[in-house]
């Protein structure tokens, strides 16, 4: 059995007959009664809430808390009584000289007996990430989406039967928790920055085996259905609370399902923009995080999605690609970039180029002119499904006029030098359109 790295020692110091004679009469190691882990993914940071029952005596109590070989930030330590708070005064927290990983609370108590206390601190080494699996229907009009979270514990501490909560959101931190944990002195020393090497996290084989047994035992006790994850918004973040308790020994990861949606209507969107993607067509799956798409209850945390497609009746799959996507707020559009493709083609061809309307100064130098380009854009859908194609053209100047002809709807001005053309193509359809762009240069642009 692996030794606990966090120890809590209570030393009761009391006064006898008015004589200020300190006496340590009891040393106990109270068990951790409950633990709660709130794990962040935008920073290497976890808020740990540790509930323990302490036996207090009337008078001054010294409580020692040590955390060797963990990644706890000592500057974040706080202890609060959960009962008789008006009778218990936490005088100070002392980090004694020449001892690492140890804090001593001086607690003045007007009561005696068992008192539950809550110890909170920030630690490094626990992390989580979201990842997803999407499965397109054969006609690629809908997609099933399964979301997972994977929680990893490299904190140096085993957390048994802990409530696990995950925070989605970007918090601001000014110090890395791991750096604070590795300081020789909790708040450093005046005028000096002293660091010592990170605590060794090497695993012993016996410890690993013990941890594995714990994990197996904990999993055996799990419910016969997947755990639910409660999701709620707090401030600018989203809090995911995993049902029940989890045991995550140091060094282990756990994968948990976060949600599943069977049918999300999706649009096969293809994009072409030379300035962003070169001369390749990029494939996107587009949908919206809203009720119409059987989503929209909560934001979707950013992560990696692997997209498969059902092929044939035997439920065989083909791998379509993967995408990193950003956090998606409720009601926001989603575009999953699955990479470049060659089965939808966009071929811009400069059919004609001309210059004209020259302006000269008194010395005969050219000061202004126009450039006229006639482009033909051919868009070919070689696939057996309907696709939507978004073609963006940048002109490099804000002084331009555009004439259009051909097989497409209206264009939309995106910004001062960019327009986009949206086309819908049926299976195996090819469309062509022309546009003539006139750009003004020099004094013609004034």
């Amino acid at each position: 059995m692996r030794c606990k790295r966090i120890l809590f020692v209570t030393m009761m110091v009391f006064l006898t007959q008015g004589i200020a004679q300190a006496k340590v009469d009891l040393v106990i190691l109270p068990k951790r009664d409950a633990a709660q882990l709130t794990i962040y993914n935008s920073a290497d940071l976890t808020l740990v809430r540790d509930i323990r029952a302490l036996t207090l005596k009337k008078g001054l109590n010294n409580m020692q808390f040590s955390w060797a070989n963990t990644l706890i930030d000592p500057t974040s330590l706080e202890m609060q009584p959960k009962m008789d708070a008006d009778k218990i005064d936490i005088l100070d927290l002392t980090f004694p000289p020449r001892v690492r990983g140890l804090g001593l609370w001086h607690v003045q108590s007007q009561t005696s007996g068992n008192v539950p206390v809550e110890i909170t601190y920030l630690t490094s080494g626990l992390s989580w990430r979201a990842f997803y699996m999407g499965t397109l229907s054969t006609d690629e009009k809908t997609m099933g989406l399964q979301g997972y979270v994977r929680v990893t514990n490299k904190s140096g501490e085993d957390y048994e039967n802990a409530q696990v909560r995950l925070i989605v959101g970007k918090i601001n931190i000014i110090d890395q928790i791991a750096d604070l944990a590795r300081r020789q002195y909790p708040y450093d020393r005046p005028g000096a920055v002293a660091r010592v090497p990170a605590p060794a996290m090497a695993e012993k084989k016996s410890e690993m085996m013990a941890a594995k047994r714990q994990l197996v035992a904990a999993e055996g006790a799990m419910m016969a259905r997947p755990k639910e994850i409660r999701k709620e918004g707090l401030s600018e973040y989203f809090l995911y609370t995993i049902e029940g308790k989890e045991t995550i020994p140091h060094g282990w990861s756990k994968r948990l399902p976060s949600f599943e949606v069977k049918t999300i209507p999706v649009v096969n969107l293809y994009k072409y923009e030379e300035e962003r993607y070169g001369d390749q067509v990029m494939r996107f799956l587009s949908f919206k995080n809203d009720k119409d798409h059987n989503l929209g209850n909560t934001p979707i945390p950013g992560g990696v999605i692997k997209v498969y497609r059902n092929v044939g009746e035997s439920e065989q799959l083909s791998y379509e690609g993967q995408s990193n996507f950003k956090y998606i707020p409720v009601n926001e559009d989603v575009e999953l970039n699955l990479g470049s493709v060659s089965n939808v083609l966009v071929k811009p061809t400069l059919k004609n180029f001309a210059t004209g309307r020259f302006l000269f100064n008194g010395g005969g130098t050219i000061t202004g002119w126009d450039e006229i380009r006639d482009f033909e854009i051919e868009v070919k859908n070689t696939r057996g499904i309907t696709v939507k194609v978004d073609i963006r053209r940048n002109f490099g100047t804000s002084s331009w006029e555009l004439e259009k002809t051909g097989d497409f709807g209206d264009y939309e001005k995106v910004d001062l030098d960019t327009v986009k053309f949206i086309l819908s193509l049926n299976a195996h359809e090819t469309k062509k359109f022309h546009y003539i762009i006139t750009t003004h240069h020099g004094t013609r642009a004034d």
Binding site: Y187, N324, V330
Partner: protein
């Protein structure tokens, strides 16, 4: 012959008292070490820590020498002062001398008669200081906060202090014992129900304009504003600079960590703005839709010497949250300019900076359009 008597480990105070009956040839040090009386650690200046020690000296009639020496601590020698606190009319401080190659000095004190006097020795001591940290727990509605402030006393001076009085700004004080290499964290301020104002800020000079073109989310910075005024339950003294960690009640008897920031000194009447993190549920997409030269003026050689611009900026602000929000949007227009048309009201904060306060309903969207001319560009 020299003799040193050490208090604890490092600081040495030897009071050498003897009658001067003939010219001094050598320093003869005293046998009896005066007990250290009251000690004050004064931390009101963040640049330096002043120690004030009270001692009782037994003086003989005539001239006495008091030797003050130290080892293993860093004392600013020019900062050492001796103040006589009792029977001042009988005692005169004649001079101070520094013995060669020693961390020491000698006071020459003349006494009218044999007496005991209380003196205070003051000096600046290095490697002992204090930090201030804050911990705030916001309520679920983010309307008010329980604010705690902790004093962190760091003693790496080489000196142990038993029962010292620690003095902070504005006369706050408490008794504390702190040994060398010890760090102590003490709660010294706790205020409940401190009103907070939550603010979202988009600064067009700092944030990306088009989030669609980026692979990562563009967050809108979110901050809490706390006013250091009496109506907030504060305002009694300036709030020192330090790290602020902000938590929020989660409605289940627990809290989450919202973020942390470093605040500067906040004088009474001023605001503490704590940047906690970024909102990814408010999205600003800003684009320049027009930027053309107009009113072009030329010299005799037809070269452009002066022109104006005709510029249009559109910004779409979307609130994906299920609560309303007030976004402060800061726009920058350099040089001389005239606003031709703007569909929202703004405050001109300075010559080049405009500030919009945009109310966003839950799941709402607002569009800003600014049409302006920049003037007389060369």
């Amino acid at each position: 012959m020299k003799r040193k008597i050490t208090i604890h480990k490092l600081l040495i105070l030897g009071a050498i008292i003897f009658m001067i009956t003939s010219p001094v040839e050598a320093r003869i040090k005293l046998v009896a070490l005066p007990d250290r009386g009251k000690t004050i650690i004064r931390l009101d200046n963040p640049q330096a820590t002043l120690i004030e020690d009270e001692r009782i000296l037994t003086l003989q009639q005539g001239t006495n020498k008091v030797d003050f020496s130290w080892k293993g601590v860093s004392i600013d020698m020019d900062s050492i002062r001796l103040t006589v606190l009792t029977q001042r009319d009988l005692v005169t401080l004649l001079n101070v001398s520094y013995p060669p190659n020693e961390a020491a000095l000698v006071w020459e004190i003349h006494s009218m008669k044999p007496i005991e006097v209380t003196v205070r020795i003051s000096y600046l001591l290095s490697f002992i200081d204090r930090l201030i940290t804050y911990k705030g727990i916001s309520d679920q509605e983010e309307q008010e906060m329980s604010l705690k402030s902790f004093l962190v006393l760091r003693n790496f001076s080489g000196e142990d202090f038993e029962n010292a009085t620690v003095l902070l700004d504005e006369g706050q004080s408490f008794e504390q014992r702190i040994n060398h290499e010890e760090t102590k964290q003490v709660l010294f301020l706790k205020k409940d129900k401190v009103p907070i104002e939550k603010r979202w800020t988009f600064d067009a000079a700092k944030q990306p304009w088009d989030p669609e073109k980026l692979d990562t989310n563009v967050g809108i910075p979110v901050s809490y504003r706390i006013e250091n005024v009496a109506t907030s339950g504060l305002g009694a003294f300036a709030l020192s600079n330090g790290k602020v960690r902000v938590f929020q009640e989660d409605g289940h008897g627990s809290t989450i960590f919202l973020g942390e920031d470093a605040t500067g000194m906040v004088p009474v009447g001023e605001n503490m703005d704590v940047y906690i993190g970024d909102s990814r549920d408010i999205v600003v997409t800003q684009r320049k839709m027009r930027d053309q030269h107009i009113n072009v003026r030329r010299d005799k050689k037809n070269r452009v010497v002066l022109y104006d611009t005709d510029e249009v900026i559109n910004a779409t602000i979307e609130n994906f949250k299920d609560k309303p929000a007030m976004l402060t949007m800061i726009q920058h227009i350099p040089g001389q300019w005239d606003m031709e048309e703007c569909n929202m009201s703004y405050k001109r904060k300075d010559a080049f900076r405009l500030e919009f306060e945009i109310t966003l309903p839950a799941h709402g969207k607002e569009d800003l359009m600014m049409h302006y001319h920049r003037r007389n560009l060369r």
